[in-house]
């Protein structure tokens, strides 16, 4: 069955360049200036799946072909096709807002700094979690209606999928939506940052899950992430997922390396010496708190997440365990360490799961 498809990637104009396929399923790479209506040279007939094929890029966009639709999660493909079928821009916005309206609200407890999308002029939060099959699920919220719509689009499109598939998604699919969402990786690009955050969280969750640690995640987490199913503890990675940061251990007191300053090292040494932990994770999350009062006047190492699995905690109540740790780190607390978030477990607790 052959068909060719007329569409317009720029919906605000009335021109309708002819969409062309030369190789399936990749789009024509940059022959952008050759859009004359009358030129028939570029039209070819070939088998195209009956659902609407991807439209051609407008001349102003990238010269590299878009990621093939088949690589995208199926629900996302459906959403894209839906948007493509809606041509009028105003109607697209309505569609977007409709998604946003139907987005499940996000509980206030998840509106944490760790879940906030950087670089949005509006506020956007994204929460991620894995099910038993290691598929990632998302929830999101925003105070701006359009951003909420975009978030909903991503949540609906990506939820329930295996992590590797989510990680493979390239943000340029947004071009197909025809919403003219900018893809420039600038500070203000909420859409791009949302997707990146979702991908990063998915990766973190997967890494955590694979290590088999932190599954009884009812940690006494002192900071704001208190949640039952396995949430990603904020790995200290800003942008790139795999910048070797404290991803935690297998048994055998592996350390969290990467990125610990002198105080972090001291903390680690002290805890190792005094508690002989079978698992120790020291994470510097000071950057998350860089704005507020506790940090002023310090050298930057002010907030840490600690995860300690040690026999020393046996027989001690939670409060006593924390007191023990605080006691050991008293000197640090006197000299500029502002806050600790402690998960303190015994080996049996961790094994019991």
């Amino acid at each position: 069955m052959a068909s060719y498809f007329i569409s317009s990637a720029r919906f605000c104009t009335s021109k309708y360049p002819i969409a062309v396929h030369l190789s399936k399923p990749l789009l024509l790479p940059s022959k952008p200036s050759k859009f004359p209506f009358s030129s028939n040279r570029f039209i070819s007939f070939q088998n195209i799946p009956t659902k609407s094929p991807p439209p051609l890029l407008s001349s102003s966009s990238t010269s590299t072909p878009l990621q093939p639709m088949e690589e995208l999660p199926p629900k996302l493909q459906d959403i894209i096709k839906l948007f493509q079928s809606v041509e009028e821009p105003k109607a697209k916005y309505e569609q977007l807002m409709f998604y946003g309206k139907n987005l499940k609200p996000l509980d206030a407890q998840f509106k944490t700094k760790d879940n906030k999308v950087e670089g949005c002029v509006s506020q956007v939060w994204v929460r991620a979690y894995l099910d038993e099959d290691k598929n990632v699920f998302y929830q999101a919220d925003s105070d701006s209606v359009l951003t909420k719509g975009l978030a909903a689009l991503l949540v609906n499109g990506l939820s329930g999928r295996p992590v590797p598939e989510v990680l493979k998604i390239s943000p340029d699919f947004a071009v197909r939506l025809g919403l003219q969402q900018s893809l420039t990786p600038s500070r203000n690009n909420g859409f791009l940052n949302m997707l990146k955050l979702m991908q990063r969280k998915a990766l973190e969750l997967l890494i955590e899950a694979k290590k088999g640690s932190g599954s009884s995640g009812n940690g006494q987490i002192v900071n704001d992430n208190s949640e039952k199913p396995v949430e990603s503890s904020s790995l200290d990675s800003k942008a790139d997922e795999n910048s070797g940061v404290g991803s935690s251990s297998l048994k055998g007191s592996e350390e969290s390396s990467g990125g610990l300053g002198s105080r972090g090292m001291r903390i680690k040494e002290k805890l190792e010496r005094e508690l002989s932990p079978i698992e120790l994770k020291v994470e510097d999350v000071s950057y998350q708190h860089a704005g507020h009062a506790g940090v002023r006047g310090s050298d930057g190492e002010t907030h840490f997440n600690l995860k300690i699995v040690s026999k020393e905690f046996e027989g001690k109540s939670l409060v006593k365990r924390h007191r023990l740790v605080y006691g050991l780190l008293d000197q640090e607390l006197q000299s500029g360490l502002h806050a600790l978030s402690i998960v303190a477990k015994t080996p049996s607790e961790v094994e019991a799961k």
């Binding site: 105003k90 916005y93 309505e94 002029v121 509006s122 002023r296």
Partner: protein, 459 residues
């Protein structure tokens, strides 16, 4: 009004081909004649200043997203007239050369033009001497210059710096950094019931511990104007200095640093129809003379040895490295253009526009405009930051842009403390300049109403 055609003689600056080799004095003469004609035309009411000057700004004549561009983001940056564009091009085509040290013809000419630009800036703000003008990259760098140079060498523990919560981040953050290093204390004046910084409170806060008062002249969010002369009098009475952030005032009204008696004043070229990459600090001579260098390097030295160097006199002392020569000359051209119209004329026109904008905005249901209500005593600048109930400003700005080609800004406008005090995360802001017209405002309001109904219909 009958169908009278106003025949405007073609003046040098309306026609694009200005060669800068013609002496600047004929240039200025042309402006004076033009200015007279503008007054005539505008006074007779045949055409507004906006309509008259629009043709000089090529960028305004385009379509975005399928609609005619309506540019209302002038507080963020202004557009440039052809005269400025040409002067930049001409610099690079005819006499680009490094300044101050060269012997040859081109460099002498570049130096002349660069220093002439400095004189133009001095004259524009009525500084007594062009040596009181230090060229910087922008106003932010100028404030940092004062902070690091004057601040670090003059502030002691428990010295007080007074600011308002409505200051731009560039007027707050450098002082936070310096306060941390010197032990000085920052004190902030909040807003009064008119949503303007409380000037009475500010007066009370000034004490013998005060060493510096940092205030904006015109607020980029509230549109309010502060009584700088009074503030300077109060500050000087206790021996404190005053740094005036004039970024939103210099482009829009007559600013007279001698009349204000300000110690420091900063502004950016890109907000006053000049190119980006250049701004200036005005500092009183006696102050600049006592200040140590900011950045070190070439141009700001006198002699350099291996173990020490001696420094040049101001303003060179604070201008390390090759300056933004073309840009400074472009700023000079912008000043010529503005002077040709007359800052008072620009101010009067923008006052009308400001009132018109405010009135029209008030008619939008559920709108909350920040800042004072205009009256006989209270004049607002031609900008309005606002929020509409239940609609996020980003949604408004996005829709306005995509559906109507209207460019406004949404966010905190580099004034987070102010927004926190107002109790919002972000606001939308429309800001005008003398090349905007009432039609622009009408267009904006119409589009805004359409936007509001779109989002409301969805609830």
């Amino acid at each position: 009004m009958e169908g009278l055609v106003v025949k405007l003689p073609s003046f040098p600056f309306l026609s694009p081909n200005i060669s800068s080799s013609s002496s600047s004095s004929t240039f200025r003469l042309g402006f004076r004649r033009f200015s007279a004609s503008i007054s005539a035309a505008v006074n007779e009411g045949f055409v507004s200043l906006g309509q008259l000057t629009r043709p000089d700004f090529p960028i305004l004549h385009q379509e975005v997203n399928g609609s005619k561009l309506v540019y209302l983001d002038n507080a963020a940056t202004s557009q440039k007239p052809t005269a400025v564009l040409k002067s930049l091009q001409n610099y690079y085509e005819a006499y680009n050369s490094n300044v101050h040290r060269g012997i040859h013809y081109l460099s002498a000419k570049a130096t002349d033009e660069y220093e002439l630009a400095r004189k133009k800036v001095a004259a524009f703000i009525n500084a007594s001497d062009s040596a009181e003008i230090v060229f910087t990259r922008n106003a932010t760098e100028a404030i940092n210059l004062v902070a690091y140079s004057w601040g670090l060498s003059n502030l002691k523990p428990r010295d007080e710096i007074i600011l308002t919560i409505a200051e731009h981040h560039s007027a707050i953050v450098p002082w936070q950094i310096v306060a941390q290093k010197t032990g000085a204390i920052l004190k902030f004046v909040s807003l009064d019931e008119n949503e303007v910084p409380d000037v009475e409170k500010l007066r009370e806060m000034i004490s013998t511990s005060t060493k510096l008062v940092v205030v904006h002249h015109v607020s980029n969010v509230l549109g309010s104007v502060l009584p700088i002369e009074d503030i300077v009098i109060w500050a000087h009475a206790v021996g404190a200095k005053v740094l005036v952030d004039a970024c939103q005032s210099v482009p829009h009204m007559v600013v007279d640093v001698q009349g204000l008696d300000a110690d420091f004043l900063v502004a950016s070229s890109h907000k006053m129809c000049g190119p980006t990459g250049i701004g200036f600090l005005f500092g009183k001579s006696n102050l600049l003379l006592t200040m140590p260098p900011f950045l070190g390097g070439g141009e700001m030295i006198s002699d350099v040895f291996l173990d020490h160097s001696t420094y040049a006199e101001p303003p060179s002392r604070f201008e390390a490295g090759t300056p933004a020569i073309g840009e400074a000359i472009g700023l000079g051209a912008a000043i010529d253009y503005l002077s040709g119209i007359g800052m008072q004329k620009i101010h009067d026109y923008e006052m009308e526009l400001a009132n018109y904008l405010y009135e029209k905005l008030c008619s939008v249901p559920n709108i909350r405009i920040y800042g004072p209500k205009p009256s006989d005593d209270i004049h607002r600048a031609a900008l309005c930051s606002f929020n509409i109930e239940n609609i996020h400003p980003t949604d408004i700005a996005t829709f306005l842009d995509q559906q109507h080609g209207v460019a406004i800004r949404s966010g905190h406008h580099c004034a987070q403390p102010l927004h926190r005090r107002l109790g919002v995360n972000a606001s939308a802001r429309a800001s005008l300049h003398f090349y905007n017209t009432e039609e622009d405002v009408d267009n904006f309001i119409q589009s805004l109403n359409d936007t509001v109904s779109f989002f409301n219909s969805f609830k």
